[in-house]
């Protein structure tokens, strides 16, 4: 790029009277900016202040970083932060693995591809709360059909949601079940956009199916991979509905995540603490998702 500072070109001699109006007026942004600015930006900035206060919605007293200190001293709050990270990492990883596997399967030469795609995708559109309630019933420790099924195989199933060390993983499993369809269709879109020529060339070169997957499918569906990783990771960090519908964060605080902590503190009237939880969530997303976004998008040309 040459950015010549001194321009030898003659500046227009006459001063211009007025610019003609642009066909793309700036005020077109205004309605959206007002709604977004008032209902999203202002609360976000306000949260930075209120997270430093003891707050009753009517008056607030500044208490410095006490709320944040609480987040890292109270065991049940730390638990929430740790669970959030576990939940996000686990669901993200499993959605990538299963999503990619299903996508490869559903783009291969099998029958009933359309039907299978629909079946895998449909849970994405179902009410998350409904899914949570249904799985809570299915994961019932004694009566649930999952453990009943395991019982037929002679396995005594665990208390999926009642065992404190297992609850968050069970919820994560249901989240993977619910969201893998979205990952799958994204991977499918990525895979079908790969020109068939590459596969034919590789086949002529004698590549096996596995080699074609590793050397063609995987690298060339990278944009899809980026989308899936970022989408499911952020979704995992923000997850609330499933946890709330299935365990309410329980047993005890064993399956609390940040979003459910925020809601609980809000219900309990600890508005400052709740808002601090929100800020912790911002920071978590900014600290994990933004570098991830930049890392995954590196070397890709600008649009």
């Amino acid at each position: 790029m040459t950015t010549t500072v001194s321009t030898p070109i003659a500046v227009p001699a006459k001063p211009r009277h007025r610019r003609r109006s642009s066909p793309y007026p700036t005020w077109f942004l205004l309605p959206a900016a007002i709604v977004y600015g008032i209902l999203f930006l202002i609360p976000t900035f306000a949260s930075l202040y209120f997270s430093l206060t003891r707050w009753t919605l009517f008056n607030s007293s500044f208490i410095g970083l006490d709320n944040f200190v609480a987040f890292f001293e109270e065991p049940f709050l730390i638990q929430g932060v740790v669970n959030t990270i576990i939940f996000a990492l686990l669901t993200c990883a499993l959605k990538v693995v299963f999503g990619l596997g299903l996508a490869v399967l559903l783009t291969s030469q099998i029958h009933a591809r359309g039907l299978l795609r629909s079946v895998v995708f449909f849970p994405v559109l179902v009410s998350t709360v409904g899914v949570g309630i249904a799985f809570t019933a299915m994961m019932h420790p004694t009566d649930g059909i999952i453990n009943a099924g395991l019982g037929l195989l002679g396995i005594k199933g665990p208390g999926w949601l009642t065992n404190p060390s297992l609850a968050i993983y069970s919820v994560a499993f249901v989240e993977v079940w619910r969201g893998v369809g979205l990952a799958t269709v994204i991977f499918i879109a990525g895979i079908v956009s790969i020109p068939q020529d590459y596969y034919e060339a590789a086949r002529i070169d004698g590549a096996t199916g596995w080699e074609r997957f590793v050397y063609i499918t995987l690298p060339l569906s990278r944009p899809a991979m980026v989308t899936v990783v970022i989408l499911s990771f952020i979704h995992g960090l923000r997850n609330f509905e499933l946890v709330w519908a299935m365990t309410r964060g329980g047993p005890g605080f064993a399956s609390d995540v940040l979003a459910s902590v925020i809601y609980k503190q809000y219900q309990a009237g600890f508005y400052g603490l709740s808002t601090a939880g929100n800020v912790v969530l911002f920071v978590l997303i900014a600290a994990m998702a933004v570098p991830l976004y930049l890392y995954l998008n590196r070397k890709e040309g600008h649009q």
């Binding site: 942004l29 999203f40 029958h111 944009p223 899809a224 508005y271």
Partner: protein, 275 residues
């Protein structure tokens, strides 16, 4: 791939998908049409009696037909939010794509932030109270617009890029003013992506649970997702009714899915190819 392997894989896939994805839905449907005692066993068996109509009527009429109110509210919420979303997001996507200006970077940043960042709920409630919008349907509509507009802007912006600028210019020469160009030339041409936006967002807003939970307390403004939550305690022991409720709440997205499968997938996977 040999024919045998192909069939083998197909059968394996069908059985696997059947177990993992179909059984839970069958379980919901079967439980919804059972009587109370059989439903309480939570097992995967054929209903001994079919109190379908009875279950349906009980769910519908509970708490003074709360589910009906909820359907009306959810419909108003969905239609209102989407109308605003389509127009506002299309306007932003269009001007952002067409015009070179200093604020382009700022717009992109805010769109990305809106896509990734969770809303600050308590300050939002505080603000809604100040504005007199807390626990109102129209306040909720604006909330849905604010939270979902980023995604819509991205879809619109990408689509506007495929419309040649000569279209705008032809309209300018024809004497169109900025409003005419947008509403009479560009917006009609955005129809494919508008359908995608409507379909994807209507499912998302209809299924939204968290935001109504925070911003729409009270029984008057209940949405369908909140009925599930409210009934969960009430139907504690009546799994048949709870599952009938789930079934009823799932029907609208199911209908949308049956008719607009392709648009939904297109909308949700946009960006998968280009990054």
């Amino acid at each position: 791939m040999t024919l045998v392997r192909r069939y083998g894989l197909t059968v394996a896939a069908l059985i696997g998908a059947g177990f993992v994805f179909v059984v839970p839905f069958l379980f919901i449907v079967l439980t919804a049409v059972k009587d109370r005692t059989q439903a309480a066993q939570l097992d995967f068996t054929w209903p001994t009696s079919f109190p379908l109509w009875e279950n349906f009527w009980t769910v519908i009429s509970t708490r003074d037909f709360m589910l009906i109110t909820a359907y009306i509210n959810s419909t108003i919420l969905t239609v209102g939010s989407i109308t605003l979303l389509v127009i506002l997001a299309a306007m932003v996507g269009y001007v952002r794509q067409r015009r070179k200006a200093w604020w382009n970077g700022l717009v992109d940043f805010l769109v990305l932030a809106g896509l990734m960042m969770p809303p600050a709920v308590v300050p939002t409630i505080w603000l809604l109270q100040q504005l007199g919008l807390f626990a109102t349907l129209h306040g909720m509509i604006f909330i849905e617009v604010a939270y979902n507009i980023s995604f819509c802007i991205i879809l619109y912006r990408a689509f506007v890029a495929t419309i040649p600028r000569e279209m705008d210019e032809a309209a300018i020469i024809d004497g169109a003013r900025p409003m005419d160009i947008f509403f009479r030339v560009i917006l009609p041409m955005l129809k494919p992506v508008t359908i995608t936006v409507i379909v994807v967002q209507s499912v998302a807003i209809f299924n939204d649970f968290v935001n109504p939970l925070y911003y729409l307390p009270g029984n008057d403004n209940v949405t369908v997702q909140l009925t599930l939550y409210n009934f969960q305690s009430q139907f504690n022991t009546s799994y048949n009714l709870l599952f009938m409720n789930i079934l009823l709440v799932t029907i609208p997205p199911l209908i949308v899915f049956l008719f607009f499968n392709r648009q939904i997938v297109a909308g949700m996977t946009s960006g998968a190819v280009k990054g």
